[in-house]
């Protein structure tokens, strides 16, 4: 378990004091994949670097399995860091070393014999599916392959925790997908706790169990991923969710007066956002019967997040204004979020 207690990190620069992390408290459970999302400059990297004390918090405590890292000397910390793997946006592989030598890098001084190190490297290469690249140099690898090597290197000392700082941000969507799948596999097969930082909601959506949203050095929202996705509280969270959903296009279409979302008199354009348990489609037929309105689904999408269905429907309702209002109230009562975009 990783406990971050009231961690504050202030950078003192000649011009100003930058409060990169502001009184942050988080608890990350063993075996979970914990996402931290935020725009550039929100303080994500600083926070994750505070976990392995690459950055010493100005105040507050960091504990891993009850051991207080913030109270340790540099020498003690170095030992602890060997059990905390870390991967980076730009992979940070040693150019002068082969793939195998890069993976073996953290094993120096581990007490393993040469044969044991070789066996370990072989098994890690197998895990990341790069057995044929053992003697290649990083310059001969693609971005995705480099990140695989970095993951293997980070796992060499059998860590309990893996910190990922924008690990997929330099990769194309397809490669991102395969790296996320590998991280998920590492999490499930080896039981490693993963802390993953990103500015992309799609990454969070793909593999995280819980997420914290950061803005200007604060954690503004935190929780189970399904809860955060279905009931986002903060504007920044809503923006992130919108950015990942195809329904977000509707806002642009409304702005541009796209014919698809054009409405006539006595019509309203609404978005229903529903999460597990309350299927939107059933409600649509119910309101048509109950309130004498016509409901026309313009488009919708259903996503699987944390193994549960979540969806949005964009609907044009036509009828008397009072009937429409009643229908909207009815849908809200059913626990579905309704956003009225336009009314004529």
């Amino acid at each position: 378990m990783i406990e971050i207690k009231n961690v504050t990190k202030t950078f003192v620069t000649p011009k100003q004091n930058v409060h990169a992390c502001n009184d942050i408290s988080l608890t990350i459970e063993d075996g979970e994949i914990y996402g931290i999302i935020g725009f550039s400059g929100a303080g994500k990297s600083t926070l994750v670097r505070c976990i392995n004390l690459l950055e010493r918090p100005t105040s507050g405590q960091v504990l891993i399995d009850g051991a207080e890292l913030t109270a340790m000397s540099e020498t003690e910390l170095r030992k602890v860091r060997k059990k905390i793997g870390m991967i980076f946006q730009h992979f940070n592989l040693m150019r002068s070393r082969t793939v195998a030598q890069n993976i073996a890098y953290p094993l120096k001084g581990s007490g393993l014999s040469n044969e044991e190190i070789q066996a370990k490297v072989k098994s890690l290469l197998k895990l990341v599916e790069l057995e044929d690249k053992e003697n290649a140099y990083p310059s001969q690898l693609s971005g995705g392959q480099k990140q695989r090597v970095a993951i293997a290197r980070a796992l060499a000392n059998d860590p309990k925790v893996l910190l990922c700082d924008e690990a997929t941000s330099a990769l194309d969507p397809q490669t991102t997908h395969s790296i996320l799948a590998l991280l998920k596999e590492v999490n499930q097969k080896l039981g490693i706790t993963i802390v993953l930082i990103t500015h992309e909601m799609a990454v969070i959506k793909a593999i995280c169990d819980r997420v914290a949203v950061m803005e200007k050095g604060h954690v503004v929202e935190e929780g189970k991923i399904l809860d955060v996705f279905s009931h986002p509280k903060q504007e920044v969270t809503k923006n992130f969710i919108r950015s990942t959903s195809s329904v977000s296009q509707i806002y642009e279409m409304v702005e541009k007066n796209d014919p698809l979302v054009a409405i006539k008199e006595n019509e309203s354009l609404i978005i229903l956002s529903y999460s597990a348990g309350n299927a939107g489609e059933a409600l649509i037929s119910a309101i048509s019967r109950k309130f004498n309105v016509d409901a026309n689904i313009v488009f919708g999408n259903v996503e699987i997040i944390a193994n549960q269905a979540m969806g949005s429907l964009v609907v044009i309702i036509s009828g008397e204004l009072s009937d429409i209002n009643q229908a909207v109230a009815y849908i809200r009562d059913a626990g579905v979020k309704v956003e009225v975009l336009k009314t004529c």
């Binding site: 870390m86 002068s96 310059s139």
Partner: protein, 226 residues
């Protein structure tokens, strides 16, 4: 062939033993001073990198002193530096002329030049690699050897090549004011006695030496770049 040499380079034949001796002196100075400057310059270059602001062993006091000293020595033209150092050289080496007397000023003049180049080479190491090494639990000493030095081997070879070639020039300058080597030989016979053939052979030897060092350097850089 031999007739040809005797006809066109009579003084070279006449002074052959002296020429061989001078060439060996240059080689010895190059090896001894090159080695000493490499060790000391590499050390100081590393110190510059790790003690600077944001370095892994930041210590601005040490950094400022070192930075200042290097700047001062580099600001003094080499010829003036040798002369200014004469009393110190005499105290340390017991003699201020000849091969022995040349070693001290040569090392003092070469070290700051090499240290700056090492500093430049090491500062090219991506800070991400330092961060990665720290995250893997490396100590500062391990980072110096396993990241800074290991990752910049090609750049260090390049810096060494450039410095050795500059050192040949320095050796000639020291030689011209009594420090031995082919510089001394060129002045004593080629210049003062106006023996053109001596001058020609000294130039040829210098070019060969520099070309050889450059080729070996280039070869090693290619070998170590991945």
């Amino acid at each position: 062939m031999l007739d040809f040499i005797v006809q066109w380079m009579p003084n070279v034949v006449l002074r052959w033993d002296g020429l061989v001796q001078a060439f060996w002196e240059t080689i010895i100075l190059l090896v001894v001073c090159g080695f000493l400057s490499f060790i000391v310059g590499l050390f100081l270059g590393v110190v510059l990198i790790v003690t600077k602001k944001g370095g892994i062993l930041q210590n601005l006091f040490i950094w400022r002193i070192l930075d200042f000293c290097i700047n001062i020595i580099r600001a003094i033209p080499f010829l003036i530096l040798i002369i200014a150092l004469l009393p110190v050289t005499r105290t340390i080496m017991g003699i201020a002329i000849g091969v022995r007397g040349a070693i001290f000023p040569l090392v003092v003049g070469t070290v700051p030049f090499f240290a700056r180049q090492i500093e430049a080479a090491l500062s090219e190491v991506d800070s991400g690699l330092i961060e990665a090494a720290q995250s893997m639990g490396d100590s500062p000493i391990q980072i110096i050897f396993r990241v800074y030095l290991h990752e910049s081997i090609p750049s260090i070879i390049r810096a060494t090549t450039i410095t050795l070639i500059a050192l040949i020039g320095y050796i000639a300058i020291v030689g011209s004011i009594g420090g031995g080597g082919i510089g001394n030989f060129a002045i004593a016979y080629g210049h003062i006695r106006n023996d053109t053939d001596i001058m020609v052979i000294v130039v040829i030897l210098s070019v060969l030496l520099v070309t050889a060092i450059q080729s070996i350097g280039d070869f090693l850089v290619r070998k170590t770049t991945h």
